[in-house]
Symmetry: C2
Subunit: 204 residues, 2 copies
C-alpha cells in the first residue's frame, strides 16, 4: 500500500472512445497533475520517446523489477508487458502532486488493490455506431480488425462497474468539464483541505 498526500486517478476506456484527447488536455490544463509513465517491454513505435511515452525496457529488466516488487501493477497484453513503477509513483505523490494513470481495465483492477483510494474514471463512447465510425475514420484497420476491436470494446465496457466515475464522451467540451471536475472536486475534499482550514481558523 502506498501512502500519499497526492491523489491517484486512473482513466480507462475502450479504444477509440477519445480518452487520450481528454487525458492530454487535462494534464496540460490542470496544475500539479502529472501523467504516470509506464514501463513496457514492447519496442518504441515511430515518434515515441523513451521517458516521455514509456520507459522502454527489456524482458530481463522487467523480470527483475517484478521480482523486486518494483511494480504497483503490471499486465501482459498481446505478448508485451506493461507496468507502473512503484518508486516513481511514490516519489511523485510524496510531493503532493496528483498522478493520472492511463491504463486498461485489467491493470486498473490491480492498481485498485495496491491503492484502494485511487479514483477510477471510465470514458464511455457515446454509442457503438460512433465508436465504429471513429475507428473507420482513422483508416488504420480492416473490416475484420474493426469487428475485433468492437468486440474488445464491448468487453472493456462491461468492466465499467469497477469504476467510480463514468464520463460519456458525446460532447467534447461537456465531457472535458466533467472529467476535470473529478480531479478538482477530489482536491476540495475535507481530508485534503484540513491544513488550509486549520490555517484560516488560527487567524481568528
Amino acid at each position: 500500500m502506498i501512502q500519499h498526500p497526492g491523489n491517484v486517478f486512473v482513466v480507462s476506456a475502450p479504444s477509440g472512445a477519445g480518452k487520450s484527447t481528454l487525458a492530454q488536455r487535462l494534464v496540460a490544463s490542470v496544475p500539479d497533475l502529472v501523467f504516470s509513465i509506464s514501463f513496457t517491454t514492447r519496442k518504441p513505435r515511430p515518434g515515441e520517446v523513451d521517458g516521455r511515452d514509456y520507459f522502454f525496457i527489456d524482458e530481463a529488466r522487467f523480470d527483475a523489477m517484478v521480482a523486486e516488487g518494483g511494480f504497483v501493477e503490471w499486465v501482459q497484453v498481446y505478448g508485451h508487458r506493461y507496468g507502473t513503477g512503484r518508486d516513481w509513483l511514490q516519489q511523485t505523490l510524496a510531493t503532493g502532486r496528483d498522478v493520472l494513470l492511463d491504463i486498461e481495465t485489467t491493470g486498473a483492477r490491480n492498481l485498485r488493490e495496491a491503492i484502494p483510494d485511487a479514483r477510477m474514471i471510465f470514458i464511455l463512447p457515446p454509442s457503438a455506431a460512433s465508436l465504429e465510425q471513429r475507428l473507420r475514420s482513422r483508416g488504420k484497420d480492416s473490416d475484420e480488425q474493426i469487428a475485433i476491436r468492437l468486440k474488445h470494446a464491448r468487453h472493456e465496457l462491461e468492466q465499467y462497474p469497477a469504476y467510480d466515475y463514468l464520463v460519456l464522451n458525446d460532447d467534447l467540451e461537456l465531457s472535458y468539464r466533467h472529467f476535470e471536475s473529478i480531479i478538482l472536486a477530489a482536491r476540495a475534499r475535507r481530508e485534503r483541505m484540513t491544513p488550509v482550514a486549520e490555517g484560516v481558523l488560527q487567524g481568528f
Copy 2:
C-alpha cells in the same frame, strides 16, 4: 429518509465568506440545479419575495408543519424559525434535478441525519483579516457588531470537520471552479451514470 435520483448539496459558510455570490452563480450556470427555498417565521425584509427568497409563514403554520413532520430539518436562530420543507424537496429530487441548500451549520447537521448522502460543502474565507475587511466595507455594522460577527464566524468555522468539501474563497474564479466541480463530479458518479452506461452497452 428521502429516496431520490437527484443529488442534495448543502453549502454553509461564515457570514461574509462570499457564499451567496458563489451559490447564485452556480445555480444560474449549472443546468438542473435548483435552490431550496426555506420556510421561515421571520418577516420579509425589503426586496424579499415570498416563494422566491423564502416561504414566509406564521408561527401557527410552522408549528403545524413541525407536528406533521413537514420539515426535513428546522432550526431556531435569533427568535425566528427556518425549515426545509419535505414535500418540495422530495418532489424536486424525484424529477432528477439536483438541489442546493444554503443553510447554516446547525441546520446542515440536522439535514445530514435526514439525508446521509447529502454532499456538504463549506466555504472558507481566506483569512480573518479579509473577512473583517469585507464586513467593514459593507458599512452595515458597528465595531462592536463586527467583533461579534467575527466571534460567530470562528464558531461557524470550527464546524468544518462535519463537511465533505472545503472551498477556500481566495480567488473568485478558482473558488467557483472548485465549487462547480463538486456538483459536476457528483453527476459523473457511477451510481448516477449506470443507466447511461447500460444504454451504451446495449448498442454493442
